[in-house]
Amino acid sequence: MEPVLVAKSLSKKYGTVVALESADLELYPGEVLGVIGDNGAGKSTLIKVLCGAVIPDSGDILLDGKKVSFTSPIEARTLGIETVYQNLALSPALSITDNMFLGREIRQKGFLGKFMRFLDQKAMAEEARKRLSDLGLLTIQNINQLVETLSGGQRQGVAVARATSFGTKVVIMDEPTAALGVKESRRVLELIGEVRARGIPIILISHNMPHVFEVADRIHIHRLGTRLCVIDPKKYEMSDAVAFMTGAKAAPLSN
């Protein structure tokens, strides 16, 4: 099976600090790839490069086997790489529908839409409702409710629904459970399962080892600016992962 997203020997230096040193990553169709690493290992730089927020000094990114390059998160997004940021990047004073379609609004057909540039609010609300219920989130009674009235988990749900709605090839999720309580975290982990079930592969960055081990199909361990190894969470214990991450144990040979 061909990987959807490949990063090949990415390097990035900040002055004399090496954040990435010929780092690789592969993401296969339909999988959840956990990315873990100690603080300062370079995993957040790796993710920022993949989502377009940081431009690497060298190295290639391949999407569906084709070389791509982007200079902003917006460009990465138009290519199908969506990111759910840790702060979610939602507009709290706008409604759920407005947020889901922000920057990609549907206009009305005919004169009103073409010349008056009127929005098709009905179509957008319907679509938003459909997306949310596809992800099992339709408990939010009113789709035109303001996002600031939602709980942390519900907001995450809106952000995920937005990220998976527009011909998305890859979803990157940055610490999705970091700010949430136990119950809400559960819901988000289920959500990750829902997204995978719909065939969209996910890169999940998290410090929460139990969460990563629960949902990831493979775990990419980052250390000293590069990929140390990729492990199967079913074959290793969390303690092994931590030991690899910190260098307490030698990494297994990658297959």
């Binding site: 990047a89 920057g103 009127f118 408990t139 009674q141 819901r187 399962g193």
Partner: protein, 364 residues
């Protein structure tokens, strides 16, 4: 080596495992936790969802109050329509100001922009013999250009809008003095050479209520901007930028370009106000509307739009302008000194911002 990892292993095993029943919980729906709420909380939530209610209530209460204080004269058709006439210019400026304040900005230069545009219209048509319509068009272009200039300074130099427009207020004012040599263009000269400039000052009598065409234009501007803000992507983006600029950027909105366009649209609205102002005042005076900048901000704030951006309605600003008009009219009919009108206005601003702050706490 092994000891360390065994220890870690033990630690992690003590952590709760989260591997059970992923699928089965999908059916369980998130309930919306509302719980017990005090009446005050309910009011707070209601106002949060309907920010225009506050100015509407204040407007109705102040009309009733002044009806009692000032008696029948206040309620006369003549007086009520006079209030509408008097707030026309500040209302149009407030409409433009609302767009800027919704983006979490502020524009101290709107009145200077307006006078500059009216100077172009008057100078070109009355003194330089240009046909009136092209002269008006140049006035509109002046409004768009000065607005876009503000927007470019805000986005390119990354300066706070307060500082940018404090600067351009002085610059535009200096330009007005430069172009006019401090001379007014007289009403009689305008009447002879370019009567079209007085068009919006024409009056129409509807059963005792006397309205200028300009008052209708003001209403039309508010309705148009309401559609723009609520029915188009452009309008939604105005709110998104004011609410959280970074989030808007990450959602794919080109925030800098948007901001320039917002300032330019505000400039166009101001230029329409310039035309209306010539009809209202009669002449073009370089020193008129000196307080228009702050008056427009007052109307917007009283109208319930938050100075922190992203929250508020355009119609609220119309009510805000009307409230100011009702207060000054009512207090003067009641025989109170102008100083007390200022005093009341000052209290109103502080109360309005206080209410806004209180309502905003809902989101936390």
């Amino acid at each position: 080596m092994n000891n360390i990892s065994d220890d870690i292993n033990k630690d992690l095993k003590d952590q709760p495992k989260f591997t059970e029943d992923i699928g089965s919980k999908n059916q369980e729906h998130h309930t919306f936790e509302q719980g017990e709420q005090s009446i005050l909380k309910k009011i707070q939530h209601f106002l949060h969802g309907n920010p225009t209610i506050v100015p509407v209530i204040i407007l109705i209460l102040s009309v009733i109050a002044f009806g009692f204080i000032a008696g029948g004269r206040f309620f006369s058709a003549f007086n009520l329509s006079l209030i509408v006439q008097q707030v026309t210019i500040v209302g149009i400026l407030a409409a433009a100001q609302t767009l800027i304040i919704l983006t979490a900005g502020i524009d101290l230069s709107v009145a200077a922009m307006m006078v500059l545009a009216s100077v172009f219209m008057g100078k070109l048509s009355v003194e330089m013999g240009m046909p009136t319509l092209p002269a008006i068009a140049i006035g509109f272009i002046s409004g768009i250009a000065t607005g876009a200039f503000n927007g470019l300074l805000v986005t390119r130099l990354r300066l706070p809008p307060f500082i940018v427009t404090l600067g351009t207020w002085n610059i535009f004012f200096a330009l007005v003095i430069f172009f006019t040599g401090s001379q007014s263009i007289r009403s009689s000269d305008i009447e002879v050479n370019a009567p079209l400039l007085h068009f919006w000052g024409e009056r129409i009598n509807l059963g005792g209520f006397v309205f200028t065409y300009g008052a209708f234009l003001m209403i039309a501007i508010f309705i148009f901007l309401w559609f723009l803000l609520n029915k188009t992507a452009w309008g939604r983006h105005v709110y998104a930028i004011g609410d959280d600029k970074e989030a808007a950027e990450l959602s794919g909105i080109r925030t800098d370009r948007m901001l320039v366009s917002i300032y330019a649209v505000a400039g166009l609205v101001v230029a329409i106000g310039a035309w209306v102002s010539i009809g209202r005042v009669g002449s073009v005076s370089p020193t008129s509307f000196y307080e228009g900048n702050l008056d427009s901000i007052t109307a917007v704030v009283i109208g319930g739009t938050s100075l922190f951006g992203g929250r508020g309605t355009i119609i609220g600003s119309l009510f805000g302008a009307l409230i100011v008009g009702v207060f000054s009219s009512g207090l003067s009919i009641a025989g109170l000194d102008v100083l007390w009108q200022r005093f009341a206005l000052g209290c109103l601003i502080i109360i309005a911002v206080g209410i806004d702050q209180w309502i905003r706490k809902v989101s936390n």
